[in-house]
Amino acid sequence: MLGTGLIKGMAQTAKNFVGSYQGPERLVTVQYPEERLAPKENARNFPFLVFDGDDAQKGLRCVACQICEKECPPKCIYINKSKDKKPDYIGKPQFYPATFDIDISVCMSCQICVEVCPFDAIKMDKVFELSTTDRFEALLLHKTELAKPNEYFQELHPTEAAEIDTRFAEEKLKAEAKAKADAEAKAKAAAIAAAPKPEPAPVDGSIPTPVAPKTI
């Protein structure tokens, strides 16, 4: 009969209408600014720089190696390397970024900078409420705005952060152990050097005899 298909369809819409007041699978809308969905752990939008310790600028993990700047497909990272060095988390002197800017109006949230960074210094953030009336300055994030503490990163990506933290701790322990071993070795060497040793036999001819200036 003509119209049965229509009536069946109407029954479906009626079912959905009623269901949208009860069933969780049909009631999926969230009333956004008041209600929010918890972000997924892997969610990403724009990068930020991780720092350890209390001082945001001193603790930056970034060593200004500029790999991310080179690999970023739309080229929206701008880095200037510092002239001097500062110690990193294991005490090795490293360069640091004198400027580190990301133009998030160009960034396409691809996460390639995060992937290629060998120092786990740049990670993806989840803030999305970034709208502004200034198209240029407000969307060019500088080092000061980008720096966020490691605790923040731990909160955002707990699994990944835990993994990195253990690795860093291990490296630090290793470095400390090595430093200690080095210090001990040095001390030993010094002790040996300081101990009275039999006078080494003077090596004959080791000191070149001064050649008499040629007379002209």
Binding site: L6, K8, G9, Q12, T13
Partner: protein, 415 residues
């Protein structure tokens, strides 16, 4: 392109009012090969023509064109005498940019080709680079790829059906139901890759990161509930008299023309040609799954709709099997590297059965860090070329749904 003689020959056979000799005279008088002096498509007005032909530019900002796309149509009353698709409004220089970036840097750009199906776009590109560089994909990564690609197919087809219904005048209802289901799949994508649409998830020789804990169970739940939604969707649509009246017998595409024009994907299968690259090439691990290829018979809009609905059911079969069998293990080839990849000199063409058709990538490597040549074979663009042949003699309202049934995404058409 349909901007050839087909308009002339079609004018004689397809136009229903071809008994009017003067109209025939007009269509034959259009010489499209001649460089056009003026912008107008209108033929020189023949004094014997009763009434005037009207040229309408539909688009670039027209709600039915699914993006920035223009159809220049010449109308005789309401009948289409000539149709010229104009694209390029969304050209973003994808291929040239890719020739200047590293191999890795192009992956996020492939997301933006067909932005509904970023996962399968990634796969097409990764497959080509793997051919070029000889990376082996581990078992688990192959399964993840199949799961992602089939979820993408669900997303694409469900959106297409929703938009098609929107074009037919079913304002919102089917589309919103479709989007509700799509949302659940996008949540899965977000949990796995971090982004809902621009996933950037596949890497050469595997995938970027392993699935998070509990992801597979979530996916199983979604796949289990999907058939119920499909049943509902079909009860809403498939038997609907209005849909049948609008779609059956409209926009018929013949088998021969489809094959000659290089049409692929559901468009081709709706004409009854059995060609599915998953079956033909057996790329990835598709030979392990038991699924059928739904075929249409008439090649009209209704068949295209039906083929897509049936394809979703087959995809669900693949998904069930893949989610059951997925092993533990590595997710990326140990030898593979993404940064600083320099494949040896050579060329490769990789293709996959994307939701829209054959998505191919052609790469030439000269041994440097960027490809020497990078070319995309976009199914949307090639499927769009026969638009005129399907629309001639029909009305504007039909042209809208025919365009909808082709399933284009302008990001891919213009690149």
């Amino acid at each position: 392109m349909s901007f050839s003689n087909s308009g002339n020959t079609g004018g004689e056979t397809v136009i229903p009012s071809s008994d009017s000799p003067s109209l025939n005279g007009v269509t034959a008088a259009i010489d499209f090969d001649e460089p056009q002096k003026s912008y107008s498509l209108l033929p020189k007005q023949n004094s014997e023509v009763p009434g005037e032909l009207l040229e309408v530019a539909m688009g670039p900002h027209h709600p039915s064109t699914h993006g920035v796309f223009r159809m220049d149509v010449v109308l005789d009353g309401e009948r289409i005498v000539k149709l010229k698709p104009v694209f390029g409004y969304l050209h973003r220089n994808h291929e040239k940019i890719a020739e200047g970036t590293s191999y890795l840097g192009s992956i996020p750009y492939t997301d933006r080709l067909d932005y509904l199906c970023s996962m399968s776009n990634n796969w097409g590109y990764a497959l080509t680079v793997e051919k070029l560089s000889g990376f082996q994909v581990p078992e688990r990564a192959e399964y993840i790829r199949v799961i992602m690609a089939e979820l993408t197919r669900l997303v694409n087809h469900i959106c297409l059906v929703g938009f098609l219904m929107q074009d037919m005048g079913a304002m919102g209802t089917p589309l919103m139901y479709a989007f509700r289901e799509r949302e659940k799949i996008l949540d899965l994508f977000e949990a796995a890759s971090g982004a809902r649409m621009m996933c950037n998830y596949l890497r050469f020789g595997g995938v970027r990161c392993d699935l998070p804990k509990g992801w597979l169970d979530e996916a199983r739940k979604v796949v289990e509930n999907f058939p119920r939604f499909l049943d509902e969707f079909e009860a809403l649509l498939s038997g609907n008299e209005i849909l049948i009246a609008r779609a059956q017998g409209v926009g018929v595409l013949g088998k021969e023309l489809a094959v000659n024009a290089g049409i692929t994907g559901p468009m081709l299968r709706a004409c009854g040609v059995n060609y599915d690259i998953r079956k033909v090439d057996k790329y990835g691990i598709y030979d392990r799954f038991d699924f059928r290829v739904p075929l249409g018979e008439h090649g009209d809009v209704f068949d295209r709709y039906m083929v897509r609905v049936l394809e979703m059911r087959e995809s669900l079969k693949i998904l069930k099997a893949a989610l059951r069998d997925i092993p533990e293990g590595l997710i990326v080839d140990a030898k593979a590297k993404s940064r600083g990849l320099r494949p040896k000199v050579g060329e490769a063409y990789g293709r996959i059965e994307g939701p829209k058709g054959e998505l191919g990538f052609y790469l030439i490597s000269d041994g440097s860090a960027n490809p020497y040549r990078y070319r995309v074979r976009p199914p949307s663009l090639i499927n769009l070329t026969i638009l005129e042949d399907m629309c001639l003699g029909l009305t504007i309202a039909d042209a809208v749904i025919i365009l909808g049934s082709v399933d284009i995404v302008l990001g891919e058409v213009d690149r």
